[in-house]
């Protein structure tokens, strides 16, 4: 067992024994190869269940609103950003959280592996390599190749807010072009973009796994469920699906922390980030703001400065 | 409903009137457009229909008329959402869709030769009107023993079907007791909550059925009164509300345990409810 995991166990055990928290929200081994699953540890005896590795792909910040009382949470960089936004939006109190921050090298996207090996029968994680036996054959992957796309362009691998730290700090390589994927999409013609999104939206089955996996989507009544006005009727054609995805991306403007939980949750492999990344880039460009990086910096759409672009308000 | 139980028949709105003083409940009177539709719509007290406000949606409502009142159907609608609001606003002469009759009905066969106590609260009186009207009809009255109706509302303005109530007051074939929660100027009737009035009025459960419909709080406090009088659970009948869509027991929405309220209900005896999980 790695040193990091032992340290997490020790910290969790101490917190529960001291009564500092009622529950530790973390990951345990799942029932499928290369899949971790969220777990809620409430007694010191159970902390041994906790794991930490590249299979821990959910954003656990999603659970802090539903768990009352004091909780510890295992959080990667992106997860801590989500926690910051939730705090800024008064959805969770800082004093109720004990953040077990972990530096993260990225998580595996199982779909990338399954695209080549078929359903995964067994796998072994070793130094930067993953050996997989699948139903359609075996293959050895370099971790870098099957890292989730979010992690490929991650700029916050280290927690931005934490009460304890685990794991060696990760250096972010200098990205030549931040948001290169968005730039590439922007450079496509309108027709090309339309064709791309038509194709992606045709895949969506409106299971709302993306919305429910997102820590930022916590409305009591989501606009898709609203009856008056009835924004969406439940049809699954590309037009309605697009309305849902675009609507959600806009509702996340200035709030999305780009953790990729939505993409990994999607059973259909829809490219959801294509839209939210664009909105995130626009927020950075227009408002010089990135969600959840510092507690002191409120969400972009919650504050106003005279330097904000105002073409729509004031005749320039 | 024939071949396709999802297709509504169309009916004409002949009356759309305010039923309660707070304007929260309106009563729609619908007319069959042809004899065939009426013949296909044979119903019994306790059943409901799904009413379509075209352009808005469909919702289930208890049928307030009795089959002894031919040519029309009456529904009382509380304004709670999209469809009910549209029905509140609908003009006389307009068209609505109706699918039905659906659900089971009050066990009137079992009531034959027995006394029946009908206990209703507030808005829940719709299908109870149907039941009382049916039993009072000269063709049926002889089948039943004493008929007592205990009907309470928060204040006089919130009582439904005031015209019928006035008629029943004068009718020797039915013992009507209306009550309101707190004294109000101009009200000379009883004052008291329905459970308390039930205790005063109902003397025995021998050879008697109790039919209880009302808000959860009213039912919660009326049941112990009935149990004290030794009404067995088989002779306490109620009608449940549930969110419904298809009304056919197919879409899976309205179940309590293995029973679908739209198809196996909405009328249940307390004995049947005791077998079901407390999830309603």
């Amino acid at each position: 067992m790695s040193k990091v995991i032992e340290e997490i166990h020790a910290a969790a055990r101490q917190l529960l024994e001291d009564g500092k928290v009622d529950v530790v929200i973390g990951f345990e081994k799942g029932t499928l190869p290369l899949k971790a699953t969220p777990c809620f540890i409430r007694s010191p005896q159970e902390v041994e269940k906790l794991i930490w590795d590249e299979t821990c792909d959910n954003n656990l910040a999603n659970y802090v609103r539903q768990i009352k009382g004091k909780k510890a949470i295992v959080a990667k960089g992106c997860d801590t950003r989500a926690l910051v936004v939730l705090m800024q939006e008064n959805q969770v109190a800082r004093e109720d959280l004990y953040i077990l921050g972990v530096s993260c090298n990225g998580v595996i996207n199982r779909k990338k592996i399954e695209a080549e090996t078929g359903e995964i029968l067994s796998a072994e994680l070793a130094e930067g390599k993953i050996s997989v036996q699948g139903m359609n054959g075996s293959k050895e992957f370099a971790f870098a190749d099957v890292k989730d796309d979010t992690c490929q362009s991650c700029r916050y691998p280290n927690p931005v807010l934490e009460d304890a730290h685990f794991g060696d700090k990760v250096e972010t390589g200098n990205q030549e072009v931040p948001f290169a994927d968005v730039v590439a999409m922007e450079e496509k013609s309108l027709l090309e973009r339309r064709a791309y999104f038509q194709e992606e939206m045709a895949k969506c089955i409106r299971c709302y796994a993306c919305r429910n996996a997102c820590p930022m989507c916590y409305c009591n009544e989501c606009f898709v469920d609203c009856n008056s006005p009835k924004w969406l009727t439940g049809g699954v054609d590309p037009a309605e699906n697009m309305m849902f995805q675009v609507g959600r991306s806009l509702h996340l403007a200035g709030r999305c922390v780009d953790c990729g939980a939505c993409v990994r949750a999607c059973p259909q492999g829809v490219d959801i980030r294509a839209l939210s990344r664009k909105v995130t880039k626009d927020c950075l460009t227009m408002y010089r703001h990135e969600a959840g990086v510092t507690l002191e910096d409120p969400p972009a759409l919650n504050q106003f400065s005279t330097e904000d672009p105002q073409g729509f308000l004031v005749k320039e | 409903m024939g071949q396709n139980p999802y297709l509504p028949i169309t009916m004409k709105v002949v009356k759309n009137q305010i039923e309660t003083e707070d304007r929260n409940i309106k009563t729609l009177v619908l007319e069959f457009l042809n004899k065939q539709d009426e013949e296909n719509f044979k119903y019994m007290p306790g059943q409901f229909a799904e009413i379509s406000a075209f352009g808005h949606g469909e919702a289930p409502f208890g049928i307030a008329t009795s089959p002894t009142e031919p040519g029309i159907l009456k529904f009382s609608i509380a304004k709670v959402g999209c469809v009910s609001k549209a029905l509140h606003l609908i003009e006389e002469g307009a068209t609505v869709g109706v699918r039905g009759p659906m659900g089971n009905y009050y066990p009137i066969e079992q009531f034959k030769g027995k006394n029946v106590v009908i206990i209703g609260g507030g808005f829940a009186f719709t299908t109870l009107r149907s039941l009382a009207t049916y039993m009072l009809d000269e063709k049926h009255r002889g089948d039943y023993g004493d008929i007592t109706v205990i009907y309470g509302a928060r204040n006089p303005g919130l009582l439904l079907y005031k015209e019928e109530l006035a008629e029943w007051e004068k009718n020797p074939n039915i013992n009507l007791v209306t009550t309101i929660d707190k004294p109000v100027d101009g009200w000379n009737g009883r004052v008291g909550f329905v459970p308390a009035v039930t205790e005063e009025v109902v003397k025995t459960s021998v050879d008697t059925y109790a039919v209880v419909c009302g808000p959860p709080a009213m039912i919660k406090f009326t049941l112990p009164v009935l149990e004290k009088l030794n009404f067995p659970p088989e002779r306490i009948i109620t009608s449940l509300e549930m969110r419904m869509k298809c009304g056919l027991g197919i879409c899976g929405r309205c179940n309590i345990g293995p029973k679908y309220v739209c198809k196996d209900g909405p009328v249940f005896s307390m004995a049947e409810l005791k077998e079901l999980p407390p999830e309603y």
């Binding site: 359903e119 | 075209f54 869509k245």
Partner: protein, 338 residues
């Protein structure tokens, strides 16, 4: 009897001019039932379709009827259109699910024509599995990777040919008219024997499940089960036996559609009354409903467990809720003696 894949391809292509042919087709790495025009479009060598075959008779979104406003009157028009169809390549798990759905859409009081008419005019040609995944558990659910239940005829892949087994009257009629059938030779027989012995190996045990659940409505197990569940629709939409749907309206000026679309009991607002009251207000109640409906209520109503062991739900779940684990936990749960 068997038919070579070449000959079957010819038959298939000829049938396509008379029937709507629905078969598994690959699109950007995902295999799903789609309309195909020739056998070459049909995917070979796959485990199962991503979305279940229930979509053949119960599409995710369909128009029930259309209506027109004319003055104060309204005319309603049935939108159901059925064409004679052949569904090829339905796996035994999905086919068995049809038999379960048949009981829902044609219940003791009502017949749903949208599902039933499609079902009646479709010939279901099942395709037995040649391999099973570790997430499959159909054998533990009372069927097998080669069972015929729910199909009209079953094809078993022998490599160069399909063994053909007629199951229903409809299937027998079809086989009687099938050109190119040959006898199985000794080698075929051996292959067939091996394939027919294919089973899923899983420790799922449903023998006492329904009865156990009879006493478990108030059990504390439900308190912890639901915690990590996201409450999305991924499991229900992937499930071959889930049948919940919503009915809504699409309306423009003077005309509109009444439509139905898949819904899920896992959705928070599924049972919310107009009054605001919600009998299943929390995730705990909804997960309990899911288990009770599939493994208890459905048994009491229809005599069968509403699960065919296809494993799609646990593969689709973003947080790895695993039905097999839940079944196991229910079996092991200690009943609280009152």
């Amino acid at each position: 009897m068997k038919i070579s894949k070449d000959k079957w391809g010819q038959v298939f292509d000829a049938l396509a001019s008379d029937y709507q042919m629905l078969a598994p087709k690959e699109d950007k790495g995902e295999v799903n039932f789609k309309r195909v025009n020739c056998f070459s479009e049909v995917k070979q060598g796959y485990l199962n379709t991503k979305l279940p075959a229930k979509a053949l008779f119960f599409p995710q979104h369909e128009t029930l009827f259309t209506y027109q406003k004319e003055g104060q009157g309204i005319t309603v028009k049935n939108a159901l259109k059925v064409e004679k169809t052949i569904a090829f390549g339905v796996r035994p798990c999905d086919a068995r699910a049809f038999l379960l759905l048949d009981k829902v859409f044609n219940n003791d009081q009502y017949r749903d024509p949208y599902y039933c008419d499609r079902r009646d005019t479709t010939l279901v040609i099942g395709l037995a599995c040649s391999q099973v995944a570790p997430t499959c558990f159909c054998s533990q659910m009372g069927l097998s990777p080669v069972s015929t239940a729910g199909t009209d005829l079953l094809f078993i892949d022998l490599g160069e040919a399909y063994a053909v087994e007629a199951v229903t009257e409809k299937g027998k009629e079809f086989v009687a008219k099938l050109q190119g059938l040959e006898e199985l030779n000794a080698e075929d027989q051996v292959k067939l024997e091996t394939l027919k012995n294919l089973q899923t190996s899983s420790s799922v045990d449903i023998s006492a499940l329904t009865e156990k659940l009879d006493s478990m409505f108030d059990h504390p197990y439900w308190d912890s089960l639901h915690e990590k569940c996201l409450g999305c629709n991924a499991c229900t939409f992937s499930c071959p036996t889930c049948h919940c749907f919503d009915i809504t309206e699409e309306f423009r000026k003077t005309e509109g559609n009444r439509v139905r679309s898949w819904d899920s009991c896992m959705a928070p607002l599924f049972t919310k009354h107009g009054s605001g009251h919600n009998p299943r207000e929390d995730k705990k109640a909804r997960w309990r409903q899911r288990m009770m409906h599939k493994f208890n209520y459905f048994v009491h109503n229809n005599g069968d467990i509403a699960c065919v062991g296809c494993g799609r739900c646990l593969k689709a779940c973003p947080v790895n809720m695993d039905l097999r684990q839940v079944i196991d936990a229910v079996n092991k749960a200690e009943l609280v003696v009152k």
